[in-house]
Symmetry: D2
Subunit: 339 residues, 4 copies
């Protein structure tokens, strides 16, 4: 049994990790931390969790003794600090501390310095792209929710070099749970319900993350023009991406089908079918659809995921499975809940 | 392996059966029927299902050969007809055809005659009340969604005879998926969203079902004053029940905790905590809370379930497990999805 | 022109007052206060308001000079304090400070003392019940949202003495805007959406307010068993009320039609039609429907309002109109927005 | 008084016209038609409308006698036929029959021939662009909802010729009421709620309408790459538009502020503020925000409207006001409802 600790267990991604891992046959949860609820049990915070484990403060010495792997769902910078004190544990960090190849990019966007950061000592945890590296990684930086949907949608095209331009327009729409569980006027029900708005236009923190990975895949510098939108739903991300290409949509579709043929969690839809965010609800699956405006040589790619599963905790478990040599789908077999 | 057929697989309860049973380790799905989509695969109707099985018409001879148990999610009267042609199969009917002890009550409320109906040949499938009978039943009439929430909330009180009156006020609120998957102006998004309304006040079809079961538990005739409401959410039922009793709420709470102590799916909340519909999302769990107005000797009971799981397909699988001597929770271990 | 001040203009009821009063032909808004946003303009806080007026602190001397009437949407106790310093202005208080005949009831439920409270110096502002008194009042305590829906639904029955029992079961459902505009985990979108829950069961602050008014109407002490529920919608309240009566529903319906015949904002629906919360959206209208369970002599009354209009700011303007001898419907002529 | 007929009064845009026109001081509604509900009163179909007028079939002779202007909210092709029989009435058509300069474009996209269509005999009814022509028009083709939001957002830029490319990426998101009031599985609550999806990618009928108007404004042929999305809300459209330009965002913002300075319904937000769909709820106002990615010279324009008001019925009344020489804002003064 893999002994698992979850740091930040009462946030939404922590709670989702708990939900998934409770049904993982090779896992035993040994440690749950929560800054805000130390000493309480999970059922006191979330009666629906039916989980009596007591929430604790983060105690590095105990983590060393009681865990084989630690999932971190913590504030920017804190994961890095704690990880440094756990040099022998496997770590999957759901924040951004281990996502960047260049710590200066992180510093610029997250306003924190990562002293002694070693880019080689961690892997960007998108299994469909970096599976082999993840297999041998001790530390995985789990991708952001938006980047997951965007990189999956663009990877086949970029790897094949079928794109002329180096600028991609990415228009993403997200449910509100992506903002996490924190009090904020902006995310109050009465403000979000029957509403829809763009935010952090151009300057969202996920831009450098997307550009890093898309540039590596395409082998040249690419830029992303990114507009995220807040949609009145709890879960789900849908990204719509606009790319110039002279390739026919039939050929591109064929390429995508081949590229993801053996992937258990990425599904290329038939031409003419577009993904719905709800098709992913509560599951680790991603769906990709496409269409092309032949007049303007513009390809429209759409990709849907559940931001808390493939966009966070499900992908983190997928990464753990790979790191421990377990079948990648274990604990993640469940189909989306519909309707 | 239990060979399972689902008749009416493309309705919401059929789809939910498929979702649950695909992860049931002792089940192999051998037959999916759908009147509206014969010849199509499930993925064509529901791409998210990732299920390639072709949908078929109902062929009794094939069902006999290919199934050990058949789940029926069909129109009133049709289940009964088909069941008569399957005298050797186990059957879990998610409709009302097998719920009633008295076929004349069914006829009055559903407008259909059940020729040769044998009340002894079937069981009302609420496991927490009729577990032993279900164990030996060939045909189970799976309870309605509202009755499940109401009977679970009242059973301990009625069994102990702690109620003075014989009339219970039941005010229930349901998500829209309870209306099934059919085109209807009434259930269009723009009509339901940011809306809330009572419907079928006093005269809902679930009244006689509740009265039948509550009367049996209390050993005397009881009546239910029932107002269902449509709430702008997809899943979930919350029933709020008003009962006169001279017993203290502490004593009643203690009784409930004891009554449901060994039940895997029914949870009595601490005094002062009330259930939220979302605590059940996608799971077979039910939560019960209570409070009392001492001035008027009125006890308020509240019970939340997911109408498509404990209120339909989850309970149906729970019944199947009991009928086949499998542990009751198999395939139903998953925690609610939150948020 | 009536010179109007709104204290607490950036809360939801303050904002709604502004929306309504901007189109009131006899009103000029001269003062907007907001504790949190002093010095900012309304457009900075709410760009959609298109209102350039600067928000100010509460300055009693300026209020005396610049206003004929002041609407107060403030914290409990603060309205009372400020009102004492404005002995010559007309006041409509949207909080609870002036709702009670007995200041000790207020003190018990709101935890504040109202020094020198004079029950005769103010009126409970439900126009359909207290119109004549409001006409001559200087201070009006605008009713709570739940009480408005409940008193309107019960008044005809109680005034005619057609009820046997003195205990009414009231099951109310409200949209989230009733909780006001404040940061709170409980009202975050991800917690409320696709959810439904009871809260403050039996012990909600609106109970004594309902009992005060219902007792006065019926001429004897009555009690309310009250369960409010939070529904995933922004606006709207629907109250469902259960009453024992031997009178026929036809006769009661006739009584209601007569009782509200000349009321511009209260509409008794035909028998068999029940109100939808959305029928009131953004308007001052209330709709009442009813049904009876003859077997148990239980009458079910249902009443829908928009909690921010008839349940708060619309009713406040209706009261102002009466206090100033203007036609009651001025500024409130608009129909509900649907869908 | 202007005598007004509404054809198709029970659809959502018809109902919205009724709501707006009931408070228009210069209008008397004399004729309401509804194919589905002939002989019923509006209150029977929509109790909230409080409108007793009986719904009638379309009788051309009576329209001639009883109306000065007719609003048409009918199926494609039908408006054109009826309009031909009303050669002396003013007409505002909310469908597409009179939107196109070239009837062959209409025929291609709507599959109907418009015999004897005279492009000069009608005007495309976007007041901010064609106000002078509308003033003298007898027939106005009221713009589609998406085109309204897109043309308003692009017009200043195109008129000034500040755009290099001739291809615009338009990513729009709409509430469900845009689909109208018709039974359809696709728009059922349980299918739309907690969901989000693109549809009619590239090939939506509003593409030729946008291209016609944008080409005229820019004085050269432009193309639109268009992806509409269905969002789980009832009302509201937000369009996000991507344009290459070398002009600075400050200069463009200044241009926009000037362009819309005197417009009563179009508001350019301060730089850094983006529109929310809900800011328009129930009102005729439009809000525009912008940002620029300097690295890629990409300007992001965002525009929000209420699809049923500025995107349909409100704009139709605005057009009527212009056609009759009334102040453009009459009947449309109301602020958005928030929250």
């Amino acid at each position: 049994m893999i002994r698992v600790g979850i740091l930040g267990a009462t946030g939404y991604t922590g709670l989702e990790l708990l939900r998934i891992l409770k049904n993982h046959p090779s896992v035993r949860i040994t440690y749950l931390s929560s800054k805000s609820f130390v000493g309480k049990s999970m059922t006191e915070v979330y009666p629906h969790s039916l989980e009596e484990t007591t929430l604790e403060d983060i105690d590095v010495e105990r983590l060393k003794k009681e865990c084989d792997v630690v999932f971190m769902a913590l504030h920017a910078g804190l994961s890095y600090e704690i990880a440094r004190e756990l040099p022998n544990l496997k770590i999957v960090d759901l924040g951004a501390d281990f996502r960047f190849d260049d710590p200066q990019v992180y510093e610029k966007w997250y306003g924190k310095k990562l002293e002694g950061y070693d880019p080689e000592g961690r892997v960007y945890g998108l299994p469909e792209i970096h599976r082999e590296k993840i297999r041998n990684a001790r530390i995985v930086g789990n991708p952001g929710c938006y980047p997951t949907s965007v990189i999956l949608a663009l990877a086949p095209l970029l790897r094949e070099g079928l794109v002329e331009e180096r600028v991609f327009v990415v228009d993403s729409k997200s449910g509100v749970s992506g903002a996490g569980r924190k009090e904020s006027l902006e995310y109050m029900f009465s403000e979000v319900n029957e509403n829809l708005k763009p935010y952090s236009v151009i300057f969202h923190r996920h831009v450098p993350e997307m550009e890093q990975e898309l540039s590596k895949i395409s082998g040249r510098d690419v830029k992303v023009v990114f507009t995220p939108h807040l949609v009145p739903m709890t879960r789900g991300i849908l990204s719509t991406i606009y790319v110039k290409t002279s390739e026919s949509v039939e050929k591109i579709h064929e390429l995508y089908v081949g590229f993801y043929e053996k992937e258990p969690f990425v599904h290329v839809l038939p031409l003419g079918v577009y993904p719905s965010a709800k098709w992913c609800y509560g599951s680790n699956h991603a769906f990709i659809g496409m269409q092309k405006d032949e007049r303007t040589s513009t390809l429209v790619l759409t990709c849907a995921i559940d931001n808390l599963v493939k966009g966070a905790s499900g992908q983190a478990v997928q990464n753990m499975n790979i790191m421990f040599g377990i079948d990648e789908t274990v604990g993640l077999e469940h189909k989306p809940i519909y309707p």
